[in-house]
C-alpha cells in the first residue's frame, strides 16, 4: 500500500530563527521532489512530530444554497478512507495514539497531525488516505450530520454563537462570509455525498496548500513522507472566486430575543486586511483599545472601574477577502445601554485624541515581549509558521516582526485610527433581553 518515491531531490535553505536571540531553532524551508514547500523546525527534544497544514478555500467554497459542506467534509475526512472503513481507520489511529484532526473556517480547511516519531510511517500513511481517498460512506455521513445538527440546535440557544452568526449574516448578505460556517438546520440535511466529493475534488490540491512541521525528523525523511501524502493530490485546486467585500449594516442594531439575564453583544465594522501597510499600527492601536491584557482601555473602563462585564474585548480579524474590526461584551440586561455608550465613547476618544506616548510604549512592550510565548510548544510553533505562510509574510517575518512593532509611531497610530475607528458607527448584534430604553447611568 505504501508507495515509496525513489530519489528525493530537495532544495533546502536555512533561513530564519525563532524569536529571541537566545533561541537557535532554525526554520528550514524545504522543497520536495514533487515541488511541495514545507517550513520545518527540527527538534529532537521529544519523540514526536507535529504537522499543521491548510488548504485555502474553506467554507467560502460551500455551495451558496448549502452552507456547511466544508465543515462536514472536515468531520468526515478521518471517518473512513481507502480500504479502511470508519472503524478500521479509527483503530489504526488509536492503536498508535496518532492524533489527526480537521477543521474548516471561512478561508481554509485545516488539518493537524501529531504522532510519536516511531509511528511516523503509519501516521503519514493514514493522513495520505484521509486526504486522497476519503470514503464518505452513507452511514458515516448520517452519523456526522446527526452530530452537526445536535451542535446547531445547541448553538440556537448559545448567546455568543447567535450573536456572532447574526453579525456575519448581517454584515455579509449575499457573500460567502455571511453564510453559517456549520450550515443550518435546513441546509445540513440536504447535503449529499456528491456535494462532499465535489468539495473534496475542487479544494484539496497542491496549489492551495501550506505546510509547517516541527519535530524529531530530518528534512530528507520528512520530504519523502510529505511527498507520499501530498504528492498524490491533484496539482490544481478549482476554487470559486470569492470577491473582496466590506461589511454592511454600519450603524444598525439587531436584537435577538432570548430569555437570558445577561445580554451578549457583538460589535464590529471595517478593519484592515493583513497585507495593508497600516495593519501593524492598527494592531498596536487595537491592543490599546481592547487587546488581550488587563490594561486595555475597554477592560479598565467597562470592567475594572464599573463592574459592567466580565468579558469585554476587541480585535482585528483580517480575513482573506475582508478586513474586520470586531469586539464583544456581555452585560446585565439593564446595563446594556450604559456599556455600549461607554464602548462607543472609548472608541471615539481614541480615534479623536489618539493614544498617549506611555500607552503606545506599553502596548509595544507587551506585543514585543509576549511574542516568544507563541512559540513554546511544537504545535504552536507549527501553527505560527503556517499562519505566516497563509498571510504571505515571508520566512523572515519572525525576525522582522518585533522591529515592525517597535517602529510604530504616534503618527502611525493616528493614521490607523482614522482608517478603522474614526467612523464609529458599527454593526451591533445583541442576544438576550436588553433594556434599550435610554436611562441615566447608575452607580455601583
Amino acid at each position: 500500500m505504501i508507495r515509496l518515491l525513489g530519489c528525493i531531490a530537495m532544495t533546502l535553505a536555512l533561513v530564519s530563527a525563532l524569536p529571541n536571540s537566545a533561541h537557535a531553532a532554525k526554520i528550514e524551508r524545504i522543497v520536495t521532489a514533487a515541488g511541495i514547500e514545507i517550513w520545518h523546525v527540527r527538534d529532537h527534544t521529544l519523540p514526536m512530530i507535529s504537522v499543521e497544514f491548510a488548504f485555502n478555500g474553506g467554507a467560502s467554497q460551500d455551495p451558496a444554497d448549502k452552507p456547511g459542506v466544508a465543515n462536514l467534509v472536515a468531520a468526515l475526512l478521518d471517518e473512513g478512507a481507502g480500504e479502511l472503513d470508519a472503524r478500521a481507520f479509527r483503530e489504526r489511529l488509536e492503536e498508535r495514539a496518532i492524533v489527526l484532526a480537521f477543521a474548516a473556517n471561512r478561508d481554509t480547511l485545516r488539518g493537524s497531525l501529531k504522532s510519536l516519531v516511531e509511528h511516523r510511517e503509519q501516521a503519514f500513511d493514514l493522513l495520505r488516505l484521509a486526504l486522497s481517498a476519503p470514503r464518505f460512506d452513507g452511514s458515516e455521513i448520517d452519523r456526522m450530520k446527526a452530530a452537526v445538527l445536535a451542535g446547531l440546535r445547541h448553538r440556537l440557544t448559545s448567546p455568543g454563537d447567535v450573536a456572532g452568526d447574526r453579525w456575519f449574516a448581517r454584515a455579509f448578505p449575499g457573500h460567502p462570509y455571511g453564510r453559517p460556517l456549520h450550515g443550518s438546520l435546513d441546509s445540513v440535511p440536504r447535503i449529499t455525498a456528491d456535494d462532499l466529493r465535489s468539495f473534496h475534488r475542487r479544494t484539496i490540491a497542491r496549489s492551495n496548500l501550506k505546510i509547517a512541521t516541527v519535530g524529531a525528523i530530518e528534512a530528507k525523511d520528512l520530504a519523502a513522507l510529505i511527498d507520499r501524502v501530498f504528492g498524490a493530490l491533484p496539482a490544481q485546486a478549482n476554487l470559486a472566486a470569492v470577491p473582496d467585500v466590506a461589511p454592511q449594516g454600519m450603524g444598525e442594531r439587531e436584537v435577538v430575543e432570548l430569555d437570558l439575564p445577561q445580554t451578549v453583544i457583538n460589535f464590529g465594522g471595517p478593519g484592515l486586511k493583513r497585507a495593508d501597510p497600516d495593519f501593524i499600527p492598527a494592531y498596536v492601536l487595537n491592543h490599546i483599545l481592547g487587546g488581550g491584557s488587563f490594561s486595555s482601555r475597554l477592560y479598565k473602563e467597562v470592567r475594572e472601574k464599573r463592574g459592567l462585564a466580565y468579558s469585554v474585548y476587541s480585535h482585528l480579524a483580517p480575513l482573506k477577502h475582508a478586513g474586520l474590526f470586531l469586539g464583544g461584551v456581555s452585560t446585565r440586561n439593564d446595563r446594556v445601554v450604559e456599556s455600549l455608550a461607554l464602548i462607543s465613547e472609548e472608541i471615539r476618544r481614541l480615534a479623536s485624541e489618539g493614544s498617549t506616548p506611555e500607552e503606545l510604549a506599553d502596548a509595544k512592550g507587551y506585543l514585543i515581549g509576549s511574542y516568544a510565548l507563541r512559540f513554546d510548544t511544537s504545535g504552536k510553533v507549527a501553527g505560527q509558521l503556517l499562519e505566516i505562510q497563509l498571510e504571505n509574510l515571508g520566512i523572515d517575518y519572525i525576525d522582522r516582526r518585533n522591529a515592525l512593532i517597535e517602529a510604530v509611531s504616534t503618527n502611525d497610530v493616528r493614521r490607523a485610527a482614522a482608517r478603522f475607528l474614526a467612523d464609529s458607527s458599527l454593526l451591533v448584534t445583541l442576544v438576550g433581553r436588553p433594556n434599550l430604553a435610554p436611562s441615566p447611568p447608575r452607580g455601583g
Binding site: H23, T45, M48, A150, L260, Q262, E304, L367, I368, G369
Partner: protein
C-alpha cells in the same frame, strides 16, 4: 546560542514497553525543594524556548468556605488583582503587561492558582510581585464592590445564560449531600451578592501563607536559580503557625439514585448526564484511579468507545456521548457520562442504553485489545503533554495541591501500564452503581398537548 538538540533531557525513564513501544519515553527533569517557611517549590526544566511559566497554587478552594459564604475563594482570587500596600492597584498587571507577560488566575473547589507566562529574564520580577501580594493585599469598597459585579457577570456568562451549565450545577449539588463539593466554586448568586471586603480579607489572612502554597516554575531556568530567587522573595515571608489541616465533612455512603431535571424553554438540544461518586487520586487505593481513567476511556472516549459504538453507531439514538474520570480532587472524585439524543429518542431510552453498556462491562469486562489501545493512548498523551510547559506546570501544581507527591505524578504512566482488565471490570461493577449516581436531564418543557380520547 543554544540549539534545541544539544539540550539533553535528563531523567529518561525506562518504562516497560507496551505494544506502542514508547521505548524512549523522556520526561523533563523535575526538581522539588521546600523553603524554611514551608513553601514548596517545583521546577520543571524545558529549555527549548527562552520563556517560562510561573504559578503559585494555594491549598484553598471553594470547599474550604464557611457555609453561607459560597464564592468567597473565587471572589478573593479576583480581588488579588487590586493592589498591595507596596504596589498600588494596577502596578503589578501593568508592569507585567509592559514586559509582555501573560497572566491569569483560576479557582477550583480545592485550590486557587495564579500564573504568569514571561520571558526567562523576568522571573525575579514576577516572584517579587507575587510574594508581595501573598501578604500585602489592600482592599477598599471602591474596588471591591465593582469587582463583585464583575463576578456576578461572570456567573451569568458561565451559568445563568446556559441551561446546560445550570443543570450541571444542580446535579453537582445533588451528588454531594454533605460535602461542600456540592456548592459551585463560583458561588450561589444570592450568596455572592453578600460577600464583602472584610470577609475576603479574613479569608485571605487565614489561608494565604507560604506553608499553604506551592510554587511551580516550568521553562528555561535552572533549579538553583529558582531557589535563589524564591529565597529572596517568598523566603522572607513568615510561615503561619495556626494553619489547620483540611478536614471537610465527608459523604455518607450513597444509597439513592437521584434524578435532576432542568426544564427550560431555551433548550433546543436535550442532554443526559450521569455522575457517580467515586474515589479520587488522593483517596483511591493504589492503582485504582488509573483504572478509572482506563475505564472512562474504554467506555466513553472517542468513536471506538463502548458507549459511542452502542449509542451512536449501532443504535443510532445519540448524536454524541462521552465519559470522563474527574479524579483530581482532595476528597471524593466523580465519574461522569454525557450524551445528546438524536431527535425521536427520549432521555429515558438513552438512560437505559447507557446502563446496558455499563452492565455489559461490569459483567464481562473489557477485551485485551481495548485495554492495550487505551493504555497506549493514555501514555502517549503524557508524551504529548510534555510538549507544553504550561500543561506540565498545571499537572504538577494541581497534583500537589490535592495532596499527591511529585513521584506519584511522575509514575502515572507506569501505573497506567500496570492496570489489568479485571480491575477495570471490578471498578465498573462496584462503583458504577446507580445508587451512587445522579442522573441529569436537560429538556424543553413539553408543548401543551391535545387531549387524546
Amino acid at each position: 546560542m543554544r540549539t534545541l538538540a544539544a539540550l539533553a533531557i535528563a531523567g529518561t525513564a525506562t518504562l516497560a514497553s507496551s505494544r506502542v513501544g514508547v521505548s524512549e519515553m523522556v520526561g523533563p527533569p523535575v526538581t522539588q525543594f521546600t523553603l524554611a517557611n514551608g513553601l514548596e517549590v517545583v521546577v520543571i526544566s524545558d529549555r527549548r524556548t527562552p520563556v517560562l511559566t510561573h504559578m503559585i497554587w494555594y491549598r484553598v478552594g471553594s470547599a474550604d468556605e464557611e457555609p453561607g459564604k459560597s464564592g468567597l475563594a473565587h471572589f478573593l482570587e479576583h480581588l488579588m488583582f487590586k493592589g498591595t500596600a507596596k504596589n498600588p492597584a494596577g502596578r503589578y498587571s501593568d508592569t507585567l503587561a509592559r514586559l509582555g507577560g501573560l497572566e491569569n488566575a483560576f479557582t477550583s473547589q480545592d485550590y486557587t492558582a495564579y500564573y504568569q507566562r514571561v520571558t526567562r529574564d523576568r522571573l525575579a520580577t514576577v516572584m517579587t510581585f507575587e510574594a508581595d501580594r501573598m501578604t500585602g493585599l489592600v482592599l477598599t469598597d471602591a474596588n471591591v464592590l465593582p469587582e463583585r459585579d464583575v463576578v456576578l457577570e461572570e456567573r451569568r456568562s458561565r451559568f445563568d445564560n446556559d441551561p446546560g451549565a445550570l443543570l450541571g450545577e444542580a446535579a453537582q449539588a445533588a451528588l454531594f449531600v454533605n460535602h461542600p463539593y456540592g456548592r459551585p466554586a463560583i458561588g450561589w448568586e444570592h450568596e455572592i451578592r453578600t460577600l464583602d471586603r472584610a470577609e475576603a480579607l479574613a479569608f485571605y489572612r487565614r489561608y494565604y501563607a507560604p506553608n499553604n502554597a506551592i510554587v511551580v516554575v516550568a521553562g528555561d531556568v535552572a533549579p538553583e536559580e529558582v531557589r535563589a530567587l524564591a529565597e529572596k522573595s517568598y523566603g522572607r515571608i513568615k510561615r503561619r503557625a495556626d494553619l489547620k489541616r483540611r478536614a471537610r465533612p465527608t459523604e455518607p455512603e450513597p444509597r439513592a439514585h437521584r434524578l435532576v431535571v432542568l426544564s427550560d424553554p431555551r433548550v433546543q438540544q436535550p442532554a443526559l448526564s450521569r455522575t457517580y461518586l467515586v474515589p479520587s487520586y488522593r483517596t483511591a487505593k493504589p492503582g485504582e484511579s488509573e483504572a478509572f481513567a482506563v475505564l472512562a476511556h474504554v467506555i466513553g472516549s472517542g468513536s471506538l468507545s463502548r458507549l459511542y459504538r452502542a449509542l451512536v453507531v449501532e443504535k443510532g439514538i445519540a448524536a454524541n456521548v462521552a465519559a470522563a474520570y474527574a479524579g483530581m480532587a482532595f476528597d471524593a472524585g466523580r465519574f461522569a457520562i454525557q450524551a445528546s439524543p438524536r431527535p425521536g429518542t427520549s432521555l429515558e431510552q438513552l438512560d437505559a442504553a447507557v446502563d446496558a453498556v455499563i452492565a455489559e462491562v461490569a459483567a464481562n469486562g473489557i477485551a485485551a485489545a481495548e485495554l492495550e489501545r487505551v493504555k497506549t493512548r493514555l501514555v502517549a498523551d503524557i508524551v504529548y503533554a510534555q510538549d507544553s510547559q504550561s500543561t506540565l506546570a498545571r499537572m504538577y501544581g494541581m497534583g500537589l495541591a490535592i495532596g499527591l507527591t511529585v513521584d506519584q505524578i511522575r509514575a502515572w504512566p507506569d501505573r497506567v501500564r500496570a492496570v489489568n482488565a479485571e480491575t477495570v471490570r471490578e471498578l465498573a461493577r462496584t462503583w458504577l452503581d446507580q445508587r451512587r449516581a445522579v442522573t441529569g436531564h436537560l429538556i424543553k418543557p413539553p408543548a401543551p398537548t391535545e387531549k387524546r380520547s
